[in-house]
């Protein structure tokens, strides 16, 4: 996964982990885990998991 910012969507969204409260902010991404700032939720690989509790993507809901 590139560290370069992806194309900026019209509006960044946030997704919250149902199990630990971690917020994935599309604007910030998750660079420590290879997700560049600006990466939309849909473009995050399915094997990515919550940096806090390791929940899979389906453990998140739009905040």
């Amino acid at each position: 996964m590139s560290e370069e910012p992806a194309e900026k969507p019209a509006q960044y969204r946030e997704y919250a982990c149902l199990y630990c409260g971690y917020i994935y902010e599309e604007a910030a991404g998750d660079p420590e885990n290879g997700i560049a700032p600006g990466t939309s939720w849909e473009d995050i690989p399915e094997d990515w998991c919550c940096p806090h509790c390791s929940a899979d993507k389906d453990g998140f809901e739009q905040a």
Binding site: L18, Y19, C20, G21, H52, C53, S54, A55, D56
Partner: protein, 424 residues
């Protein structure tokens, strides 16, 4: 894959697997926290004072180790802010709680050190791994064996015969601890009791783990001890090294102890809640797709732990209340999970509620590492309970189930005496 679970009904279990006995050994009161927390919902979200004092019960958490003030954080929003801000509300408080017994572990470390240590085992506790490796290798086989035993008769104490042995057997097997030694290992790691007994127990457990680690270093197997002794950990400068024996051992101690106890009690609470709400149990029995949200609801409604502690690292203001660095804060799950602003009729159990986040397994950087494994074990166990125990109901001739354990720590049923029609 075969499994060999511990038949606790036939073993000398000492004071294990009775939450009241555990609480008494620790000197804790065992009152139900929820009637005592009721009045706090009408007050401010953050209050100066220890939670026990607000509830009118003797102290269970010892905050005297620290010189600062003590605060209780009560509302969902305030508890959430504290959990999510680990730089301000740190786990340093566990230096006095767990470190004397377990050494440096995920519990008392913070920041980069905590993150690097946690990263070692994260892949082995993510849902895809717990649904696959843990469930397929260990949980399904253990559940089958336990229910084969339970269905040899028409009555059982599901606390002793299911809830206690299942997580202990799964975690022990997953780590690679021989089943014959699993109960002795669990006993040895019991954190309560006389200091000399605790020291003796830890020496026994350390000796056993050292032997297993040495064996796995030479001949790795498909178990967690092998994974730990061959695991890399990142140094502060980004370079990699192997875990030391001491680090691996502390990790194993923590996970084995936490993995056995929390799931045992929470599974017991779940089964008790369902049996006390038979109409909801029937809905779940008929529609297993509701399993995940049912577990989310039961753990919200009655988590096994009522409150966690945090250390206030720097001067801060939370919900208008000033807190000085050096204070200790109670994060009250009991009130936050029943916050009137977050849930309608929060004191009622309702497995049909839309799943929503709560704090039964903590939150933030220190959220329970094993929570996904715990849920998965409970799902498999409840599924088997519905499939193998027909006409499941309380045993009218046995003592009724009551929730015991410490008021703030380690709550769970003392017994779960049921009758059923065994199904094979």
């Amino acid at each position: 894959m075969t499994s060999s679970t511990v038949d606790l009904a036939k073993k000398d279990r000492g004071t294990l697997f009775n939450p009241d006995d555990e609480a008494k050994a620790a000197g804790w009161g065992t009152l139900d926290p929820y009637p005592l927390l009721e009045k706090l919902h009408d007050g401010p979200p953050v209050v100066k004072g220890a939670l026990e004092d607000l509830m009118g019960i003797p102290r269970q958490y010892n905050t005297d180790h620290w010189d600062g003030e003590v605060y209780s954080i009560l509302s969902f929003e305030a508890v959430n802010k504290a959990f999510m801000d680990a730089e301000t509300f740190s786990n340093r408080v566990y230096e006095k709680l767990s470190k004397p017994a377990l050494g440096d572990t995920l519990l008392n470390l913070d920041g980069g050190e905590h993150k690097r240590l946690r990263n070692v085992s994260k892949p082995w506790f993510k849902p895809s791994f717990t649904d696959g490796w843990w469930t397929e290798m260990w949980t399904v086989a253990a559940v089958k064996e336990i229910f084969d035993r339970i269905t040899e008769k028409d009555h059982a104490d599901l606390n002793l015969e299911l809830c206690a042995p299942l997580p202990m057997s799964v975690v022990s097997a997953g780590f690679g601890i021989p089943s014959a030694e699993a109960l002795e290992f669990r006993k040895a790691l019991l954190l309560h009791g006389a200091p000399e007994e605790m020291a003796k127990g830890h020496a026994f457990a350390a000796e056993m783990l050292t032997r297993l680690m040495e064996e796995r270093r030479v001949s790795p197997k498909d178990d967690l001890i092998s994974r730990f002794v061959h695991a890399d950990i990142e140094n502060g400068d980004g370079t990699l090294r192997k875990l030391t024996n001491e680090e691996a051992m502390r990790y194993c101690f923590l996970i084995i102890h936490a993995g056995g106890g929390t799931t045992w009690r929470q599974m017991g609470i779940t089964i008790m809640a369902l049996l006390n709400h038979p109409e909801q149990m029937e809905i779940l029995r008929k529609d297993r797709s509701l399993m995940r949200q049912a577990l989310q609801e039961v753990t919200r409604w009655y988590p096994t732990d009522t409150a966690f502690l945090r250390y206030v690292e720097k001067d801060t203001v939370l919900e208008g209340v000033e807190m000085k660095a050096g204070s200790v804060a109670y994060l009250c799950l009991g009130t936050a999970n029943r916050d009137r602003k977050q849930w309608e009729d929060p004191d009622s159990l309702n497995i049909l509620r839309a799943p929503k986040r709560h704090f039964a397994f903590g939150a933030g950087a220190h959220a329970c590492l094993g929570q996904h494994l715990s849920r998965q074990e409970m799902e498999v166990a409840l599924g088997a309970m519905f499939d193998r125990l027909g006409d499941l109901h309380w045993d009218p001739d046995a003592p009724p189930a009551v929730l015991g354990g410490g008021t703030l720590i380690g709550r769970g049923p003392v017994s779960l005496n049921v009758r059923y029609t065994p199904l094979h």
